[in-house]
C-alpha cells in the first residue's frame, strides 16, 4: 500500500515538474494511438456501417468474425506486423520497423475490428429507425451510410474512444514493432514495462497512474460532450 502512496507522489512530482522525458513519451503515446484511432475510424466506420445496412449471403458470418477480431491479442498482432515489416519479410524494403509508423500500423490493425464491430451495432440500431424513411427517399447505399454515420456521430465518438482506450493501454504490439527505443519509439506502456523490468516499481506505477489519468480525462471529455449532445436530442 505504501508503494501506491509513493507512486502517487512521484506521479504528481513528475507531472508538475514537466519532466521532458515524461512529456516526450506521453506525446508519443498520444500521437501513435490517436493516429491509429484515426486510421481505424477511416477504415472501420464505413465498413461497420456497410455491414450494418447490407443484406448479403454470409452476413452473419462477417458479423461474428468482426466481433471475434475485437479480441485480437496485441502481442500476436505485433508479431504479425513484425514479420511483415522485418528485413527478412515481404515489406522490409519499406524500412518501417522500429519507427512510430510501424507502431501506428500495428495499433491500427488491432483496433480497426473494434471500431468496425461496435459501429456496426450502433449503425444497425439507428438504421432500424430510419430504414423506411431512407427507402422512401430511394437513398443509395453510399448516401445511407453517410447519413447514418453523421447521425450516429456521438455514439461513434464512444466507439472511437473504445478503440483509443485499447490502443493506448496495449504494450504487446508496440514493443515488438517499435523496439522501445529511447527517444524514438518509447511510449507510456513500454516505459512501464521497462521500469518494471528494472525493478523500479515505484516509477512504473507512477507512469501507470499518469496513463490512467490521461485515459480518464479523455473519457470524461467525451462523456461531457455526449451529455451536451443528448440535451439537444442529437445523441
Amino acid at each position: 500500500m505504501q508503494d501506491f502512496g509513493e507512486a502517487f507522489g512521484l506521479a504528481f512530482r513528475l507531472v508538475l515538474s514537466a519532466d521532458p522525458d515524461l512529456l516526450e513519451i506521453v506525446l508519443l503515446s498520444l500521437r501513435v494511438s490517436l493516429s491509429a484511432v484515426a486510421v481505424a475510424c477511416l477504415l472501420g466506420l464505413p465498413l461497420g456501417a456497410a455491414v450494418a445496412i447490407g443484406r448479403f449471403p454470409g452476413r452473419t458470418g462477417v458479423v461474428v468474425l468482426l466481433n471475434a477480431l475485437m479480441g485480437l491479442p496485441p502481442v500476436v498482432v505485433g508479431l504479425m506486423i513484425y514479420l511483415l515489416l522485418s528485413n527478412a519479410g515481404p515489406m522490409g524494403w519499406l524500412g518501417l520497423l522500429y519507427t512510430p509508423t510501424a507502431m501506428i500500423i500495428a495499433q491500427s490493425v488491432l483496433i480497426t475490428p473494434i471500431v468496425a464491430a461496435l459501429s456496426r451495432e450502433v449503425v444497425e440500431q439507428l438504421h432500424s429507425e430510419y430504414a423506411e424513411h431512407f427507402r422512401s427517399l430511394s437513398l443509395s447505399r453510399r448516401q445511407a451510410v453517410a447519413a447514418l454515420l453523421w447521425d450516429a456521430r456521438y455514439s461513434l465518438l464512444t466507439v472511437g474512444l473504445a478503440g483509443f482506450g485499447r490502443a493506448v493501454a496495449e504494450v504487446g504490439a508496440v514493443i515488438i514493432v517499435g523496439g522501445n527505443i529511447d527517444h524514438l519509439t518509447r511510449v507510456m506502456t513500454t516505459a512501464i514495462a521497462l521500469e518494471t523490468s528494472r525493478g523500479d516499481l515505484g516509477l512504473a506505477l507512477a507512469l501507470g497512474i499518469i496513463l490512467l489519468a490521461i485515459a480518464l480525462s479523455v473519457n470524461a471529455a467525451v462523456m461531457m460532450l455526449r451529455v451536451t449532445a443528448s440535451r439537444y436530442a442529437y445523441a
Binding site: E132, S136, S138, A233
Partner: protein, 254 residues
C-alpha cells in the same frame, strides 16, 4: 372542386369514379404474411388531381396499401403502376411519404431539410429557408429537430416531403397524435400542396378530417377494397354495409 364537378356530371354510377389517366394504379395487389392475406387482390385507380382519403377499420390494410403503392415493400402478387408504367426506382423518386411518427434526423431543423434537398434538388440556403417558411418553421431553423413539439416535428416531416417536389405524396395518419391546432396547420399545408399540383393519398381514422379533406374515398376492410367513390356520395350514402357500419362508429376492428 372535383367533388362539385362530379356531382353535376350525372349519371356516373355511385360506385364508379371517373379517373381518367390514373397517377397510381394497383392491379390484383396482394400482400400476405404469416399465412394471412393482409392486402387481398386490390384493384385501384387513383385520379391524378384529387385528394384521395383511404379509410377503414384497424387492420384493414390501409398502411400496407400505402407502402405497397410507394414501393416500400414488394407485393406477394399483383402489380403497382405509376403514371401508366410499372413502378420503378426512377418513378418512386417522384413520390414522397409522411409517416405517422415523424422520423427526424438527429440534426437541426434546417439540416433535416438540407439533407433531403441534397439527395434530390437544390440545397441552397434560400431554398431551405423558403421551404421552412412555407410550413412556418423558419424561426426554428437552427434548433435541434427532435426537440420540437409533435406538431412542429410533423410539419417538418411534411416540409421535407414537399422539398422533394413530389407528384404524389402518401400520408399515413400524419395527425393521429396531434392536437387540433397542429392538425389544422397540417391540413392547411396539405391543401396548399394539393393546390400546387401534388396528388395526395391520405390515410386517416378521423372522420371529420376525412370529410374536410377528401375528394374521393377508398374504403378497405380486411385487406379488400370495398369501394372507391366520390367523397360526397361516400359520406352520405355508402354502398357497402361495412362502410355504413364504419361511418356509424360500429365497425372498429377489421
Amino acid at each position: 372542386m372535383p367533388e362539385a364537378a362530379l356531382r353535376t356530371v350525372v349519371p356516373v354510377p355511385r360506385r364508379e369514379l371517373h379517373v381518367g389517366d390514373p397517377v397510381a394504379e394497383a392491379r390484383g395487389l396482394t400482400y400476405s404474411a404469416g399465412g394471412k392475406r393482409l392486402v387481398d387482390g386490390v384493384d385501384l385507380r387513383l385520379p391524378a388531381d384529387s385528394i384521395t382519403v383511404v379509410m377503414g377499420p384497424n387492420g384493414a390494410g390501409k398502411s400496407l396499401l400505402l407502402r405497397l403503392l410507394h414501393g416500400l415493400i414488394p407485393p406477394t402478387a399483383g402489380y403497382v403502376f405509376c403514371r401508366g408504367q410499372p413502378l420503378s426506382p426512377e418513378l418512386r423518386k417522384q413520390q414522397a411519404m409522411v409517416f405517422q411518427r415523424p422520423v427526424l434526423l438527429r440534426r437541426s431543423v434546417a439540416a433535416n431539410v438540407r439533407f433531403v434537398l441534397r439527395v434530390r434538388g437544390d440545397s441552397s440556403r434560400e431554398r431551405i429557408e423558403a421551404i421552412l417558411n412555407e410550413v412556418g418553421l423558419l424561426p426554428y431553423a437552427h434548433q435541434p429537430a427532435r426537440l420540437l413539439s409533435g406538431g412542429e416535428q410533423q410539419r417538418l416531416a411534411l416540409a421535407r416531403a414537399l422539398a422533394l417536389s413530389p407528384s404524389i405524396m402518401f400520408m399515413d395518419e400524419p395527425t393521429a397524435s396531434l392536437d387540433p391546432a397542429s392538425t389544422a396547420a397540417i391540413e392547411t399545408i396539405v391543401r396548399r400542396a394539393y393546390a400546387g399540383g401534388t396528388k395526395i393519398v391520405y390515410v386517416t381514422h378521423d372522420l371529420g378530417q376525412a370529410r374536410r379533406l377528401a375528394d374521393d374515398v377508398v374504403f378497405l376492410n380486411r385487406g379488400r377494397l370495398l369501394e372507391h367513390t366520390p367523397a360526397g356520395s361516400f359520406f352520405e350514402d355508402p354502398v357497402s354495409r361495412e362502410a355504413r357500419d364504419y361511418l356509424a362508429g360500429r365497425l372498429i376492428l377489421s
